[in-house]
Each structure stands twice: as structure tokens, then as C-alpha cells.
Symmetry: C2
Subunit: 417 residues, 2 copies
């Protein structure tokens, strides 16, 4: 299980009130909030595996989705994928980018996984339309769509569900009680994970263990300690930004996934009572050691408004000796060590410097980057997001702030006709 | 030349004072500040080209650097690279990541470009040491280093310069008056650009045109308008975060480059008089349309503390029709348009929604994503960063906040022996 340490500069806080704990437990048990109990939905795993078996002969898996439908799978594949299959993400509607993804692709090698919870995401349906046209140019007609597409969408509603019926396309279920940004452990993330050679039962097992640990330890779990510290500092105007910084290139995309989860869940105009609050904690993506040569100057010496989450991988699979025969001082200093020791030293040096500069942090340690540990990390940050929603008194499961932009976009289009 | 538009919600401001303009002109002309005049250094271009000619037969170009030594080249290659050569970046000291980059590599195909301005970057020298060891395992000895390595470093100082002499390794010059995060238009970025098929004279030409435009238009240039708006809002506590959001997947890494430039240049503990100020504007990387399904909820409805820079590409090289025969409402709505029209509509919809929500923005338009336009964009943001340093009264060219972390890291290592 993951380890947690908090900066020694953080104050001692009283335990969270019993009613807060009860409210969170009730929220996690609500039928319409599914993510906390998701890892036990073995029926969904079977559905995903049968889709994989049907298409496992395909050499190229193309994931088509945007935002929460894509950031989760990108994160899992880049953290744990074995790179044996070619996995591509059509996660934007930039035509030059789509051209690059399609230009060397032979349709017979490819399966396209079209992901939209609502079945009504304009970007994703636009990509589906152009892929149908692209297939037609390669002499694949509607009657053969079922050989090239898999959908993931709401089990009943939406335009994708209708198309799936019409063309007998396999359509996996995103449970109605799981929003897009909480969907990584559904078929949305698990199907690409299977193509990337990832052991999905172990990933879900790790998430399940974390959910159980949170339920068992109640207010003694570090989840609560962290939420209390974050809220205490936030309400006293000591922080308004949270930095996520794994010391691992494989977890760079984990930061991007977290950014969406945190920004879209907590950045809200109205609180639960309908009062205008314009609240939220800005998430900042970083990764070590690279960002020690980039954003760290700002984190260390800029405004005192950041809380850092630093993630350590205790053991890597590979390592390199830094021995050399070069005479110069720095090479001699490095020679007794390995690369992973240098990486760890940089993390520990940063923790100490953060303490000196009075910048609060939480330090997470995974024993190694495994399915089990990553599953736990995912569930932990999902739960933290939901809990912070409770502290900030906002709905962490909606996203009303993007509706105006969508409406204005279609108005602009209609004026072009 | 790039176009600039500012949100109609921004107030009218008086022109900047003459002494501010004079101080900036003097700063840009200082011998120790080189980036503004860099695009005219044709001698450096010739040096880079000769390195390219010598190694152009190599199939794999491996760039080894961290922070400013890597983010610039990554940005240029991903924006404009033709993907004909295999270009890899060793931009971190994660041993599993390095293993993945090296495992399928045949030394005879590869050239390693080792980049460190100071010649004393621990991560980069560590990577160099392990690469020497890796070459030795492939029976390449010290006598043949010059066939596998190119350096970029200070023309006189540092450990890399010494090694270059000892082993007759070609070592390109990073001019002493160019800091790492301003080095993208030196050999640091231009050598990988040549391997990626990028026309570097046009890139430098675009940068040069932008520098001339800024010098010619003086306080009438949008550079000044933007800086005035940013500073006005910052000093009145209306903003403390700047979002950079190109509507282009190819410019996703441009955002990462900007983040380093802005964070490391402006995030400072002390002002020029030595007073403790803990200042800086937090840069936030985003890209459209993808982030409309991620961070946009926070930008639109969260705290009113953000100034957005939105970058439009007016014309793409490729495009796709969204026509389809599907009956459902959203497909019918999309059918008359192309993908690039949808992308543009989303940008214009976002601008309108930002106005409604009273979120300030600047809207940049490039005619297309070309060498010339990208060169101009780079120089513009470098100049804006230097100018904002002047407004905030900090030194935008140092980074003292990362020294403690380095020192503590080596102390930690020494305790492990």
C-alpha cells in the first residue's frame, strides 16, 4: 500500500468532525455516484475482455475521445503499457494532427474505439464521421462498420447507442453513475489497457484495496489528513494552487489526468446552495526531476500559494551506474551512485528545500510502478477530489461552465452557412 | 505577421511611460542579454549546419538535456518536424524511461547531442556518463566518442568544454549572453530542427522580423499593450495566473516551453533592490479544443484570477469534411462543416463565453503554422517575459531558487556512501 508523509511545517489539526465523515460515507454510497464502488463491478470487466478478444488480432488500436474520455486511458497506457501494440489517441480535432495519425494507417490493421459518455460529444462524433468517410475512401462500407469500431457510451441513451444498434457495432457500457472524468477504470480505460498488455484485474484490485482502506480507517486515513490540511490552508488564503509532481517520466500523463479531474470537479461558480462563489484550486502539472529545471524556481521562490503533491517511486525496474573515468569534479561526485539514486536524491533535496522555504507538501511513495499501486493512486485522487468538493461545498460531478462555449460555437457555425 | 486582439472587457489604459520604453530598449541592447539580437547571428547558423552535415547520415538523433536545454527543441520539433528521422529526447533521469529509449537502439545509427549551457548540469552529465558506459558495452571506446557525440555548451567554460577538447568531440557554442531557457534559437534547438527537416533560416527570419517590429513600433506594439494589461491587472490583484492555450495539437509543447520561460523568469523571491517580494504569475499550460473538456470549467467558472492567451492557426494544411448520412441531430448539425471550421468555432465560442464571464484574454492569430510564424511567436514570448520582468522589477535571467534543492540533493547522496 502507498505511503504518505506530510511536511513537518504543517500545523497540527483537530480530527475532522464526525458529521463530515458521515456525509462523505453517504456520498460514496449513493447510487448515482459510482466511482468508489466501481472496482468491484466484475461484470464490466468481462464485457471489456470479450471486446478485446474479438479484436486482439488488430495491430493498431485507435482511441477516439476528448477530455475525460481520453486523459485516463492516455495516463494508464503511458504509465504501464508494454508498447507491443501501436496505440494511438485521437484526442483533439486538429486536422493536421488527425492527418498525421491516419496517413500511414491501413484500415485492415486498425480498430477504432469511439468513447463518449453522453454519446453527444461534438468533437468525438465529428471524428467518427470523418473516420466513416475515410473508411469509405478505403472501400469499407456501412455494412462492415462492426469490424472496425467499438463504442463506449451510456447503456441506454445517446446518438452512439442508436448507431451501435443500427450497424450492430459492439458498444461497451459506461455506467450512468460514472462521469467522464471518473471513467478511467471502466471500459474507457480498461480496453486500451488490455491492448497495452496491462493486467486490469490487478489495477482494479489496487483501486479496490484503496477504497477499502479509506472505508476501514475512516478519519484516520491520510485522505482526511490531506483534505483537512488543504482546506485549512485554502480557507485561510494560504494556498489557491496545487502542484502534482511525480518523479517519473511514466507518470507525466498522470499529472495531466489529475489536472482535469481537479479543475473540472472543483472549479465552480456556484456552491451547493446556489450562491456565487467562483471557487476552485488551480491544479498545476509537473514532473521530476525535469521540472526542477523549469517550474521549480516559481514553486520555491514565487508566491506562497501552492501545496505540492510529490510522488516517489521507491524502486525502478532498470538502473544505470554513473561510474566513469572522467577526472572533472562533478563526474567524480556522481561516480559512486546510480541514476535512480540521483533521482531520489533530487526528490529528497527538493523536500528539504521546500521545508526551508515554508512551502507545504504531501509526499506519496509507491513501492514500484505496478498495476496494483497505480490503481490505488487513481482511486485515492478520485476520492480526494470528491472529498474536496464536500469541503468546498460544490458539486464535484457537474461541469456547467463549458455549456456557453459550446452554444456560442454552434451559433458561430450557423452564421457561416 | 501575427495578429493580436484583446478582450473587449479590458479597460483603456494610458500609453506606457517613455522611461519604461527606454529602459526596455537599453535592456535589449545590453551585451550580456543576447536573445533579442540572436536571430542575426549567422555565424552560429553556419556552425550548426556544419554539425548537421557531418552527422546527417545517422538515422536516430538523441537530444540529451533537461529544462531549458530540452523544452525548446521539443517544442520546435513537435510543431514543425517532418518525422522522417527518429528524434528522441532524454530529458529526465528516470532509469525506466532511459531504458525504453535505448533498448532498441543500435549505436551505429545514433548521434547523441549533449546540451548544457554551464557544462555542469548534474542530470545531463549523469546521462552522458551512462551513455559512455552503454557505448563501451557495445564495444565503442573513448577513441571513437567523436563519432557519436556532439556537445552544445559555453564556448570557453565548463566540464563539457574540457571533455570536448580531450576527445575531439564537436562542441557547438551557446553564447554566454543566452541563458538556457532563452536558448531555443541557438544550436540547442537549431540542430535538432535540421534533423527534423525544419527550415531554420525561415524560423530565425520570423524571429528577426518580430524583433524588428517590436523595435520599430515601440510602445504602439501589442507587446506593450499586453504587458500593460497584465501588469495593471496583477498589481490590482485581479490576476495571478496566465493560461496559454493554442488551438493546435502541434503547439501543445509550445505551452510547456512557455511555462518554463515564464515560471523560471518571473517567479522570484527578491526584487532588483533585494527586497523579499515572493512574486510571479503562475503559467498554466493548456491546448484547444482538448482542454475545453478539461481545465476550461475552472477557467470559465473558477476564481477570477486568470488572464488567457489563446493562439489561433488561421489555416491548416489538411482538413476533413464532416458530411455523413447519419440521421441524428448532432450529425446533421455538423454535416455542412469541416473539422477546421469546428475547431475555429470552438475557439470563437470560447472567446465569447470568456467575455460573458468577464475573463480577460489576448487572442493571437498565426496565418499558418510555418517556420516564419513560429519564429515570431517564440521571439514575442521571450520579449514579453523580459518586459514583464521589468514591470515586476525582478531579474528575469537568473534562477536562484533551485540552488538549495541541488545542494541538499548532493548532501543526501553523500550520506548514502
Amino acid at each position: 500500500m502507498m505511503k504518505f508523509q506530510f511536511s513537518p511545517i504543517l500545523p497540527d489539526l483537530a480530527a475532522p468532525k464526525a458529521e463530515k465523515l458521515k456525509a462523505f460515507e453517504e456520498l460514496m454510497a449513493k447510487p448515482e455516484i459510482g466511482f468508489f464502488r466501481l472496482p468491484t463491478r466484475l461484470d464490466l470487466v468481462e464485457q471489456t475482455k470479450s471486446a478485446y478478444q474479438k479484436f486482439s488480432h488488430k495491430k493498431v488500436f485507435v482511441h477516439v475521445g476528448i477530455g475525460g474520455s481520453s486523459l485516463g486511458p492516455e495516463m494508464i497506457v503511458s504509465a504501464l503499457g508494454n508498447k507491443l501494440k501501436d496505440i494511438r489517441f485521437l484526442n483533439n480535432i486538429d486536422p493536421d494532427y488527425i492527418f498525421k495519425q491516419l496517413k500511414d494507417l491501413d484500415p485492415k490493421d486498425a480498430v477504432f474505439f469511439i468513447v463518449s459518455k453522453s454519446g453527444a460529444t461534438a468533437e468525438t462524433l465529428a471524428s467518427f464521421a470523418l473516420l466513416c468517410d475515410w473508411l469509405a475512401q478505403h472501400e469499407v462500407g456501412e455494412d462492415r462498420f462492426k469490424e472496425f469500431f467499438i463504442f463506449a457510451t451510456d447503456p441506454v441513451k445517446g446518438e452512439l447507442r442508436e448507431l451501435a444498434k443500427k450497424y450492430s457495432i459492439m458498444a461497451l457500457e459506461i455506467p450512468p453513475n460514472i462521469g467522464g472524468r471518473f471513467s478511467v477504470l471502466t471500459a474507457v480505460g480498461m480496453l486500451p489497457a488490455l491492448f497495452a498488455g496491462i493486467k486490469i484485474e490487478e489495477l482494479l484490485g489496487g483501486a479496490s484495496e484503496m477504497a477499502k482502506d479509506i472505508s476501514d480507517k475512516k478519519e484516520k486515513h491520510s485522505l482526511w489528513t490531506l483534505a483537512e490540511h488543504l482546506f485549512f490552508q485554502f480557507k485561510n488564503n494560504q494556498i489557491n494552487e496545487t502542484v502534482i509532481m511525480p518523479y517519473s517520466s511514466s507518470l507525466k500523463d498522470f499529472s495531466a489526468w489529475f489536472v482535469q479531474l481537479w479543475a473540472e470537479s472543483l472549479g465552480k461558480k456556484h456552491n451547493l446552495e446556489g450562491k456565487t462563489v467562483n471557487t476552485g484550486l488551480t491544479p498545476i502539472a509537473a514532473y521530476g526531476a525535469t521540472d526542477q529545471h523549469s517550474q521549480m524556481q516559481l514553486f520555491m521562490h514565487g508566491p506562497l500559494n501552492k501545496f505540492l503533491f510529490l510522488i516517489e517511486i521507491a524502486a525502478f525496474e532498470n538502473d544505470y551506474s554513473l561510474k566513469s573515468s572522467f577526472e572533472s569534479p562533478l563526474f567524480k561526485k556522481l561516480a559512486p551512485f546510480t541514476l535512480s539514486e540521483l533521482l531520489k536524491a533530487e526528490l529528497y533535496g527538493t523536500l528539504k528545500a521546500l521545508e526551508k522555504e515554508k512551502r507545504p507538501y504531501a509526499h506519496f511513495t509507491l513501492q514500484k510502478l505496478s498495476e496494483n499501486q497505480l490503481g490505488g493512486l487513481i482511486l485515492f485522487f478520485e476520492a480526494l477530489t470528491a472529498l474536496m468538493g464536500q469541503y468546498l461545498e460544490v458539486d464535484p460531478f457537474d461541469q456547467p461552465g463549458v455549456e456557453d462555449g459550446k452554444r456560442f460555437a454552434f451559433e458561430w457555425l450557423e452564421r457561416q452557412v
